[in-house]
């Protein structure tokens, strides 16, 4: 039982990190109706950029600051070059465009900083929390816990941003109805640029955490693939959904790997979340927190 | 040829025997070109004739055929001829009243109509034409609930025919045997420019002899394809799509509808083609409009190569003069880049011979087609002469003549300048109108055409105008209105023109704009307008037309004899001249006298020096209702060119 909890908590903590990536998707989806497949590439890009700056001699905070600027520029450029020409296209077209964007960003990142694996140290030790181990005997990484805390703070901040600030409310209006938002004078294009910039920031945080944990390498882009089932579970439009979905995915896949994996040869982490999400879709296509779609003809 | 092929029914049976499986007629219907072979046509005609016989149609009776070009209407023509009856094709777009005289004059008891529209019109005139007893319709749409006893579907008629044929298996061939070449084969009503129409009587012999003569000269074979898109009531259409088709055994193609003629023309790609100048004009207008929308580079290329074509194209087609290597090469390149594609989009790639007839054609228009390699030739003839009188022989085409006489046709020029004609195809008489017959055909058998003209040094006939229209201004200057009008009409922006001047001090003109072309032009310049009348009155459009008029004036000035008849003043009419309003004939000839009378106020204003004039006109809409259009028309002075300046320029 103790082992079960250990796995569960490990899964939940990993799940929060999934949530963080998923949050990037949700932000953009809410504001512009785009399912941004390039979110993973942005995470990779952010992490690589920070490492790159550090390798050039910049201290961590400066590297993060510089990278933030780069990410904001990238977000704004994306809005300009990718979204604007594609406005009013079907969602699926936009989705495919972001796959193109993902390739572009990945190519750019590696082109700029090289393709080798970099280590990233952000000063949080990845060791088990001793007090916890002493008390319960569970091995919970300190890093995971801090990362989860950072995520939680970020998520809270974003929730507040969305619900309490003027820009946040404008964002929600945009998500509900583009035309109407335009009609009441909300500057759609600025809003989009802001959202992409915020998504860039989220990607940066995710990139730092994931990069510090697993090393900065191309595989970081796959983090985004993990986030997809999270979104399906949680619904594309819900921040709460992203969080709950992340927790479900993180915990269930860890549990499955540990308790189910041995029977089928292991390695099921890669797809288990998808199968869960798929089964879930069949029951509730709009996700946990999504709204039911009524098709009018 | 053992058997005598001297009547239409015999020609049909002959074709069914010697080329049973070649296509005789096609119709674009339900998306494809439905085809019938000669043997199928012969069988169908036999059944149809038997059906008519069962309904009491007898030798010497008349039958009206009304509708667009439809195979079944053509078969109706032959079926009637098989029984010794007389087909009377009518203009399908006429309003019902126009038919009354014809039905009464020809005592028509039978009619085959294309569809509900035509049946309705027939029902409308039935009270005035009590002898009309049988109406058959081709397309049953909307006619299901018509319960008048006179009305019957074509298919039902065929059913009767099959029954009749079973009961009297020898009847059909016996009737065909009874046919004589001298029998009346068809009645063509010419609307004329004044008075009631006259029914021109042609025998089998007239039509067949003439058709054969012309076909032999041009080498027409069974492999030709023609597109039947002109009214069946026009003798030219009959000659090309019926008489010569039966003589030579070639295939006639009926378009899907009048809206799709251009597409159908392109699909079929006829090898033998006849159209009045207005069709060629419309095609050229389209070319001009569409080219204007082309990119700068394409336009440049087009104009450059059209220049080349203008210089050498006609000569290459005539193969008369030696052309330099460089010009030949240029023309070849032009053919690849411009002329060939142009012929292709116009549907003229396969054309071997094409005639324009029915009206004089503007020389520039004429040259355009020849220069891009379309063998366009002028044809002179009349309903009364079974069409062919003069044809331009290959290699000797001159734009301002109508060519040499065909075969055994004789022409002499009367002292008055009028052209007199004797031909084996000369009509027998005007139906039940001996007085008119006597006026047109003198005791020696010469037909008085009413056209003025003369032979040039190469024995080519040159037509000036209608004899009665060629006149003089008060100062004695020669005034040939049609010549001036044709010059105006060559501009894509001008659709019709009427020139006045006979017995006046100067020449003035009323002009109709070509709506499509001017609308396109206006859009390009962001000129807004609310409709035809408004567009026609825009000052910008007036400027546009003024340029055209002044261009014509410069041309006229270059000719000593005509320099005095330049257009001094003109106006743009607020409505299109319309056959429904009687302003032009159904073959689109302007009725100058009628127009002068109808628009007397305008003509007065033209000559009184007023700057504008109010006019209100009655118009007939397509559905027969009438209404009025009124407008204030501006009248504009055109600049005259001095003969010397014109000469210097030339």
């Amino acid at each position: 039982m103790q082992f079960f909890f250990e796995v569960l908590i490990g899964g939940l903590l990993a799940g929060i990190m999934y949530s963080l990536v998923a949050l990037g998707f949700v932000l953009i989806y809410k504001a512009s109706g785009v399912f941004n497949f390039a979110q993973g590439a942005m995470v990779f890009f952010a992490a690589l950029t920070v490492v790159g700056f550090m390798e050039q001699g910049a201290p961590l905070p400066l590297a993060i600051g510089l990278c933030l600027i780069v990410m904001i520029l990238l977000g704004v450029a994306t809005e300009r070059i990718v979204l604007r020409p594609l406005v009013n296209q079907p969602q699926i077209t936009l989705f495919m465009a972001t796959i193109g964007l993902a390739f572009f960003v990945e190519g750019l990142a590696q082109g700029l900083w090289g393709a080798q694996v970099h280590a990233l140290d952000i000063g949080i030790p990845d060791t088990p929390i001793e007090s916890l181990m002493d008390k319960t005997g569970m091995l919970i990484s300190q890093f995971d816990l801090i990362a989860a805390l950072i995520c939680a703070v970020l998520v809270t901040l974003l929730a507040v941003f969305f619900n309490k600030t003027r820009i946040g409310r404008a964002l929600r209006a945009v998500a509900d109805d583009h035309q109407a938002a335009l009609a009441v004078g909300i500057p759609l294009k600025q809003i989009w640029a802001i959202v992409w910039a915020v998504a860039g920031f989220v990607a940066l945080v995710a990139g730092l955490l994931w990069g510090a944990r697993n090393g900065v390498q191309f595989a970081l882009t796959f983090v985004a693939l993990k986030a997809l089932p999270v979104l399906i579970l949680g619904g594309f439009e819900s921040i709460a959904g992203a969080i709950v979905g992340g927790l479900i995915v993180g915990s269930s896949e860890k549990l499955a790997e540990v308790f189910l994996g041995p029977y089928v040869g292991g390695g099921i982490e890669g797809w288990f979340a998808y199968v869960v999400a798929l089964l879930f879709l069949l029951v509730r296509p709009q996700g946990l927190f999504g709204e039911k779609i009524i098709e009018r003809v | 040829m053992a058997e005598s092929l001297d009547t239409f029914p015999r020609l049909l049976l002959h074709n069914a025997k010697v080329r049973p499986d070649l296509p005789a007629i096609r119709e674009k219907d339900l998306g494809i070109w439905q085809s019938w072979t000669w043997s199928e046509v012969a069988a169908e005609v036999r059944t149809l004739a038997c059906g008519l016989a069962a309904q009491g149609f007898k030798r010497g009776m008349t039958i009206a055929l009304i509708g667009d070009n439809r195979p079944r209407l053509y078969w109706g023509v032959t079926a009637a001829q098989c029984l010794g009856g007389v087909p009377v094709p009518l203009y399908q777009d006429a309003v019902a009243d126009e038919w009354v005289f014809v039905f009464q004059n020809a005592e028509i008891a039978f009619a085959i109509a294309e569809d509900q529209e035509q049946v309705d019109k027939l029902l409308e005139i039935m009270p005035k034409c009590p002898q009309l007893k049988h109406i058959y319709f081709d397309d049953p749409r909307g006619l299901r609930h018509y319960d008048q006893p006179e009305i019957m579907g074509y298919d039902e008629l065929l059913e009767l025919g099959r029954e009749f044929d079973r009961a009297h298996p020898d009847y059909f061939l016996a009737e065909v045997e009874k046919g004589r070449p001298e029998d009346m084969a068809a009645l063509f009503y010419t609307s004329g420019t004044t008075g009631n129409p006259k029914g021109v009587v042609h025998s089998n012999k007239n039509l067949i002899t003439t058709g054969r003569m012309a076909a032999e000269i041009e080498g027409i074979t069974e492999n030709e394809n023609v597109l039947a898109f002109l009214p069946m009531a026009w003798i030219g259409q009959n000659m090309f799509s019926y008489t010569q088709a039966l003589i030579c055994g070639f295939c006639v193609n009926c378009p899907e509808s009048s809206d799709t003629v251009m597409t159908d023309l392109r699909e079929i790609g006829p090898s033998y083609f006849l159209a009045p100048p207005s069709v060629f004009e419309r095609l050229l207008t389209q070319v001009t409009i569409r080219m204007e929308d082309a990119s700068w580079l394409k336009r440049k290329m087009y104009h450059y190569f059209m220049g080349v074509a203008n210089r050498v194209g006609g000569k290459i087609l005539d193969a008369k003069e030696p052309i330099g290597f460089w010009d030949r090469l240029l023309y070849k390149i032009g053919d690849l880049c411009v002329y060939g594609p142009l012929r292709n989009v116009l549907g003229m790639t396969r054309i071997r011979i094409t005639y324009t007839g029915g009206e004089a054609i503007g020389p520039d228009l004429f040259k355009f087609y020849r220069s891009i390699g379309v063998n366009l030739k002028q044809l002179y003839g009349a309903t009364e002469t079974s069409v062919f009188v003069c044809v331009q022989p290959d290699g000797q085409v001159k734009p301002d003549t109508v060519g040499k006489t065909v075969g055994s046709v004789q022409i002499k020029i009367a002292d008055s300048g009028e052209i007199l004609i004797k031909t084996p195809g000369l009509f027998d008489e005007y139906y039940k109108n001996p007085q008119a017959t006597a006026e047109a055909k003198d005791a020696d058998g010469w037909f008085h055409t009413g056209d003025a003209g003369f032979f040039d040094a190469d024995e080519h006939l040159k037509i000036l105008d209608r004899a009665k229209d060629v006149g003089r201004l008060n100062d004695g200057t020669l005034f040939a209105p049609k010549y001036i009008e044709n010059k105006l009409k060559f501009f894509p922006y001008i659709k019709e023109a009427v020139a006045f001047g006979q017995g006046r001090d100067m020449c003035c003109a009323c002009v109709n704009i070509e709506f499509d072309a001017v609308a396109n032009w206006a859009e390009r310049r962001n000129i807004s307008y609310s409709g035809y009348t408004d567009l026609a009155s825009r000052p910008e459009v007036y400027d546009l037309v003024q340029d055209c008029v002044e261009h014509v004036n410069r041309d006229l000035a270059a000719d000593e004899k005509l320099a005095g008849s330049q257009i001094h003043r003109f106006l743009i009419l607020h409505k299109e001249l319309d056959p429904d309003d009687g302003e032009i004939t159904r073959t689109r000839k302007v009725r100058r006298g009628f127009v002068a009378e109808k628009y007397a106020t305008l003509v007065d204003a033209l000559y009184s020096g007023k700057g504008e004039c109010f006019i209100e006109t009655q118009v007939k809409f397509e559905d027969g209702r009438t209404g009025t259009i009124s407008a204030i028309l501006r009248i504009v002075d055109a600049k005259l060119a001095s003969p010397d300046a014109a000469k210097r320029a030339a």
Binding site: I294, V297 | D29, L30, G31, I32, R141, G142, R144, H145, Y146, E256, S257, D259, T260, T263
Partner: protein, 262 residues
Amino acid sequence: MEQVRNIGEPILVVENVSLAFGGVKALQDVSFDVCEHEVRAIIGPNGAGKSSMLNVVNGVYHPQQGHVTFKGVRRQDMNSHEAASMGIARTFQNIALFRGMTVLDNIMTGRALKMKTNFLQQALWWGPARRDEMQNRHKVEEVIDFLEIQHIRKTPVGRLPYGLQKRVELARALAAEPEVLLLDEPMAGMNLEEKQDMCRYVLDVNDQFGTTIVLIEHDMGVVMDISDRVVVLDYGQKIADGTPDVVRADKKVIDAYLGVTH
């Protein structure tokens, strides 16, 4: 010409149908019937539930209460495919053509239920599939001829003006040779001439093929001229039912509908 038609027994009966989306009641206890060969109109102001009614009839929406009886088969809800195979075809208020296809292909889809070959035969093309295709093409061409859209046969529907798109949609429905044709505002957004044309086509269809027609219209004038009986809906409820003359004189209709819009 006086129309001579034999209006038959009820072919379609709607009984006490209620439909709600979430809390919004689109239809409340609506009943009416449609007789064979008649032209039946459903009118009412915007948002009266007219389109919802059609959507219930051909199985796009499933009512919470009530029944629809079609050709003697009574059921609470149909699915669209079933409705189509039983002989119901329809057009939509906002044109629902297949925008990536030509006019011809669009109309050919109307023959979906009449096609007898499977995809393997079609992959081979030669033989049965080709024959099947040709036969159905012939039928489709008759519809094209009937609605006079020959000149646009091979044009992608997206390039057509609105009025023609409406006609193509009607053609697609007709190609299915339906017994009942549901038309959802066939004349909306048309100019007078187009409306007259459309009226003529609707009447011709009814006359030529004996098709029963249920039509929704916003514009009362047109409907009154061409329908045999009219149902009036307002706020999801039936407020009148009868011949055009009866309906026109109905006090409730005048209040609810005429009073508002005219």
